[in-house]
Subunit: 477 residues, 4 copies
Amino acid sequence: MSHLPADAARDGTHLFDGLMLDSRLEAVLSDAGYVRHMLAFEAALARAQAACAVIPAQASHAIVAAVDGIHASELPGIAALVAEGTARAGTPVIPLVRLLANRTSPEGQPFVHWGATTQDVMDTAQVLQWRDVLARFSDDLATLGSSLASLAEQHRDTAMVGRTVMQHALPVTFGLKAAGWLDSVTRHRRRLNDLGPRILALQFGGAAGTLASLGGSGAAVARALADDLGLDCPDLPWHGARDRVAELASFCGLLCGTLGKIGRDVVLMMQTDVAEVAEPVAAGRGGSSTMPHKRNPVLAAVMVGAGTAAPGLVATIHSAQMHEHERAAGPAHAEWRTLPELLRLTGGALRASLALAEGLTVDPARMRANLDATQGLVMAEAVMMALGTRLGRLDAHHLVEAACRRASAGKRHLRDVLREDNAVMAHLSAEALAELFEPEAYLGSTRHFIDAALAAHASLSPGSRHLATSEPTEAAP
Amino acid sequence: MSHLPADAARDGTHLFDGLMLDSRLEAVLSDAGYVRHMLAFEAALARAQAACAVIPAQASHAIVAAVDGIHASELPGIAALVAEGTARAGTPVIPLVRLLANRTSPEGQPFVHWGATTQDVMDTAQVLQWRDVLARFSDDLATLGSSLASLAEQHRDTAMVGRTVMQHALPVTFGLKAAGWLDSVTRHRRRLNDLGPRILALQFGGAAGTLASLGGSGAAVARALADDLGLDCPDLPWHGARDRVAELASFCGLLCGTLGKIGRDVVLMMQTDVAEVAEPVAAGRGGSSTMPHKRNPVLAAVMVGAGTAAPGLVATIHSAQMHEHERAAGPAHAEWRTLPELLRLTGGALRASLALAEGLTVDPARMRANLDATQGLVMAEAVMMALGTRLGRLDAHHLVEAACRRASAGKRHLRDVLREDNAVMAHLSAEALAELFEPEAYLGSTRHFIDAALAAHASLSPGSRHLATSEPTEAAP
Amino acid sequence: MSHLPADAARDGTHLFDGLMLDSRLEAVLSDAGYVRHMLAFEAALARAQAACAVIPAQASHAIVAAVDGIHASELPGIAALVAEGTARAGTPVIPLVRLLANRTSPEGQPFVHWGATTQDVMDTAQVLQWRDVLARFSDDLATLGSSLASLAEQHRDTAMVGRTVMQHALPVTFGLKAAGWLDSVTRHRRRLNDLGPRILALQFGGAAGTLASLGGSGAAVARALADDLGLDCPDLPWHGARDRVAELASFCGLLCGTLGKIGRDVVLMMQTDVAEVAEPVAAGRGGSSTMPHKRNPVLAAVMVGAGTAAPGLVATIHSAQMHEHERAAGPAHAEWRTLPELLRLTGGALRASLALAEGLTVDPARMRANLDATQGLVMAEAVMMALGTRLGRLDAHHLVEAACRRASAGKRHLRDVLREDNAVMAHLSAEALAELFEPEAYLGSTRHFIDAALAAHASLSPGSRHLATSEPTEAAP
Amino acid sequence: MSHLPADAARDGTHLFDGLMLDSRLEAVLSDAGYVRHMLAFEAALARAQAACAVIPAQASHAIVAAVDGIHASELPGIAALVAEGTARAGTPVIPLVRLLANRTSPEGQPFVHWGATTQDVMDTAQVLQWRDVLARFSDDLATLGSSLASLAEQHRDTAMVGRTVMQHALPVTFGLKAAGWLDSVTRHRRRLNDLGPRILALQFGGAAGTLASLGGSGAAVARALADDLGLDCPDLPWHGARDRVAELASFCGLLCGTLGKIGRDVVLMMQTDVAEVAEPVAAGRGGSSTMPHKRNPVLAAVMVGAGTAAPGLVATIHSAQMHEHERAAGPAHAEWRTLPELLRLTGGALRASLALAEGLTVDPARMRANLDATQGLVMAEAVMMALGTRLGRLDAHHLVEAACRRASAGKRHLRDVLREDNAVMAHLSAEALAELFEPEAYLGSTRHFIDAALAAHASLSPGSRHLATSEPTEAAP
């Protein structure tokens, strides 16, 4: 193998894309997708300015025709040209506008990019990407919610041990655990509904945010442009106010946190020592290159990976809010590579979660066996509460704690130890004691909580989301 | 000076508290404030359980009386005892419950902390703190908005140079800059309104989130407890689902980002080389220990400091979302010191911003002088747009760009250079050219944008906030 | 309980200090400790300037006497006064210098703080704190290394299952796991040795880093001052170059990462389902407020908590490197509260790790039982490698993988399944097969690795560390 | 423009690669570069195992021949296949080993990847990438140091104003500023020398870190393999101990911090209002799409961008240190995309800094003009120090501070104000006063500091670096 020349290499680290990302988002987030949205902005700008009589109708037609004349298959090539120009110009808009002008007939040429500035194009194209991505997230969250709701319903009464601080605590059900995951997902869906209208806003301010180049027509053009693109027309241009960007990043961070939590729970339950659930089997997935017996968590690991990597990216976007004056010298650069990566990781973790939730194998028998593994210790609270009504909580606590210690030391069942304890049996019959060791009888409000989570999920119709009106593929020019 | 024994030192780093924090929040966020809220939880729990006939009414009265009997002046001492116990027990609730039980008369003693677990107390007390803090933030943001609105109105027509990528770009007004700051603040106020109902939720799940210890009464007690505390009763206990915590942290991060951006803008405008604004003068503030002529930005530096430090804290809280199972072993610890610090930094930056916005000195004459400093270059776009309607945008761009270079090289006024350019004067009269160099004539939609920001601010009545109903001081037991 | 007035509360969040921090560091890191170091700087400055004939000897004597006259018991009070002044002045040095001048006799008064600036005092005092803290870290790391070395030696042959991607993989020994932890600790000790000389450097530059106020004597005074304080005299003042600060923060982050990894391993091994190790028992530690049978990890959770919280703090310090010009307006503020917190968390996690490593209970029998739990599956690689020499690795892999699946499906021991497989038994005798299932026979280089880690540990004598020469208590004035 | 099908898009965000990255690193960091290093590992493994008689010599020859037979031009294609397989298998090593086995002649086939595990290949290939990247960083830092040294020498006496907290403070020289930048760079070069030997270590542990699959030959093979690859042979496999990874990330963070600081200083000095330096002009760079007169900082903005984005990535790698047991389920995934991105951003900022430092335009006349802009105020300390020897520092401070205020208020030169002040003139002659206003006479140890920085730079010969012995291109198979 001879030395590899730089130009022979496909740039970037894409080896883990198929594993960690959602390829369906690449049509939106790739350079070609971004260029497509930048061109959509330029076309809509021309239409809006013609409608407001800022530029001639013919000019608008020419520009729109030039954009329409670009076939999707050309976009990667155009993106490559733009990338090359960006290295020189410091911004992708200068080379893109030049390219578009070259493809526009003479009556339109002078009016290409009229009155707009670099950041208007970059930010608005970015918002158009966000809309497509959020629509995907919204659909996926609805699907994930439904899968989790099915798990919650199906395992409503599947008793398993609840673990706090990684110790067996009390009985819960797997349905409750799934309902807990669902509860966060439902909250994220509501957050998405709040978020959309606030962040899917046109950026259009011209060189310094005054739209001075449009004289008295700036506000009218902005309104027409926002309507054309199906975006909110904000009170003010926001080139220097990046809280919308940081809000989106925060949402991704929250979502990755939940997906990471689900993934971690699954990884823990998939431990060989626990073996309560297993990831759906897919041909060739999760094997080891050297250990033939291994079944590694793959989807859950992707989710934990996103939960680990997202916070740093969120922090970068938060840091980059400190834009200087009317446009930043540096902080903006920090956004350019970070936000797409965060959106990708989020999308990838979401995709993994869909497969996980859809196909998770649950082993109720093993769950029951694990529940019994500590010989009644997990029912200690049940006994304590029963005694507590007679003895008071603290005395009961001491009594049961001592019995637990004796049971542990003697490797005996707690029930048997308690049966020998006169202080206890003075208050409980043998049957009453035996009943206290039925996990199913000590689930408290578990079903109530599951029902509440299912009802909240059901209240969010999949079609109710704000973002549904502008489907990504139809928003494209 | 002899060696300092460890116990002689007041622990912690508090040297910068007065500078960087808001002391009004310490009544809430201090250990004493936290203990106060934990006690409030225990009292409300007793009331709710008595109302649901889970514990005897006398027991409830006894517990409530014990809590009521604790004078505020005792709280720091109690907090110190609890802190000591926390070091041994790993959680502050065990020592606090013991202390409370000791102070409760016999009929209540057995029922102290009945059915609740550590995290119920810690998380709900924390939420009660949040409510107080958010109420303060809400008030402060309303006040900040009003101060910024005043600046925007007062300086609606105060022309200054807009700076993009730290270069003079085009004329703007200082009113527009203030309106841009206001616009973010208005958005934060809306976010706060969305956020409150979602995060100000009771945590009450018992040992593993099933409320098993309350038998069939769990849901009813939860509802009564939430009502008593004035909190939302969530669908499910959320000990293991930390997205609410992360959402609050994200909000703080967004807010610190905006305050940091305002601070950075002010720092830049306060540069000796720019000198367009100055912080309000306070006796002794901003001096140098060695340079008698210095007037350093102090408030703005606090704001930039918060904008710099918040993202890392936000990332920690986001990371800590990956709680294991029903309660975490480690991630929770990461929350305990991080979130209060983030709330403190946010409150401190907000306090600084109030003083800054209220007392900012603005120098319109210097702003105008800076606008003129480049001898007309900032009006280049105005000329280009005027020529563009005749020549097309790109040709006009080239023509004006060349003139700019000649003007820079010859250190002449751009207007004079253009006046000698036949290609230009073929399209413009001398008067028309002169008019193009009036900054006030090239402000486009500036007034419109300011009006929109002011209207949005005005639409949020200071009294409309969700959180107003439960004032911090009245929420206290 | 009546409402708590703000001034009744002890400020700050200290409830978890005893649990999460190392109180021995507070003598150094507290405000009093910081003030002590600032005063030490002022005294050393006076001595150095007198030695270089920059100020009169009497002036120096007077200043040194004033510093010496401050009793340790006064420091907290002084710190409180300085804190108050900081809120007004924006820096603690202005009030401190005023206070010191007031306590200095007339011949010294004019020369207090001569030629120095705020940041000289703050940064150098900080470096003096670092030295004390690093000396503590150095000692603690040596002790931790020794404890881990003991575990590695003692459990050199204690077989347990190795877990990759949280699945049982192959046999290892607990000694190897401890050796792996030790290996990182050894590396941290070497890093500390590299780090010390680079970061323990005087900061002394005067108002703008030129020492102009000392005329031609600046460099000589700097040298004498560094010698007096036992610090490195750097090539240049470093007020604006914060890589030293970030290097220290990075070291803390690395160390917390290792401690968090150890903590997480322990948490996982302490799971009820695994139960291979247990934290040392301390009276009252690790109990639950409601579940009498719980033994929660406390020390390990503190370590994981530090590993979770440190990265965000590291990121803040890294961000704050972008100081503007000769001194920052904001980034410095971000350092002030962040670095002490990071040092505290690191010290606390280190303290927890000492207790953990010293007292860890190891259960070899349970380790062995867990190793056997998968009925021979963890020995699959051993079989595969044995077959591989005959059949090739890939064929052997397929063969054994299929047998593993049959064993899992039939819940049988892998050995028994293989024994029925002619394709296998064609290459292995029954005895050879049985031997392949002895874990102790499949440990490869385990002992070699343990020995290497122990040797590397032994090569670092506890007394060899660079920092040992200036003990914290003796460095104090 | 019709809708873009996903497969038509080139995946990933590469639009800013040319602007923000260093294309020379892509041969190393691209997927093809990574695959090349993984193959190099497999070949070296075969050689080492044959040398230790673990596998037959023919097998080794066959494997090495198969690797050698892969032409560089095939690598992108192979990388694409591996990427596809990674999506299914969860790791790139399984598909790569399969591919390599398919290309290996029968006598070698059974021994491909013998005894190694996924992470051995991934981590060691990664370390080989690091070596190449660090060699590039080392060269670039040497070059950057030289450029900065030239600036420091050339502008040793170019007086400019020192700015603290963004206010004019005292005179410095531009040479001193450059020397300060150089000082950090020199420190980074020393760090790199410390770092290399510690992190450039073979990872080779087999399935669980025992090398059990190699029987008694594990340690010998490890040694031979490390020697073959030119890497350090560590005491222990480090699959679960990620401090080396975090140390590299920290180094990148430190370096980006310094580059960001330099970038920010340049951005600030390039402000239209300051105009003391300018970036080297390149055709088409730094223009605005709408403002013909703009000359935006481009290189400096890239550097600030890296300084803003690096900390979040550093935090991720630090977080990911908490690997579980012998290999992580999630944290590793967080490393995979984050570390390459961090290395890329660092390399890109370094490349930008080379162009910046090489071609920076410095305007001494403007520096001098800015120094004079405050009419003598920046010389206030000089006057104070001169008076201080007579009056004491505090009295002098008050006197001069008052004069500064009068000068500011009256917009007069401080010298003229002082000349009218009898309290001052009692101690100074008119000539002495005039001399105090010569900036060049108040530079203290400036030259000394510059000389020290230059000497430290000179002491690091460009050829002395540890990493030089194994050039990236020669390390390739």
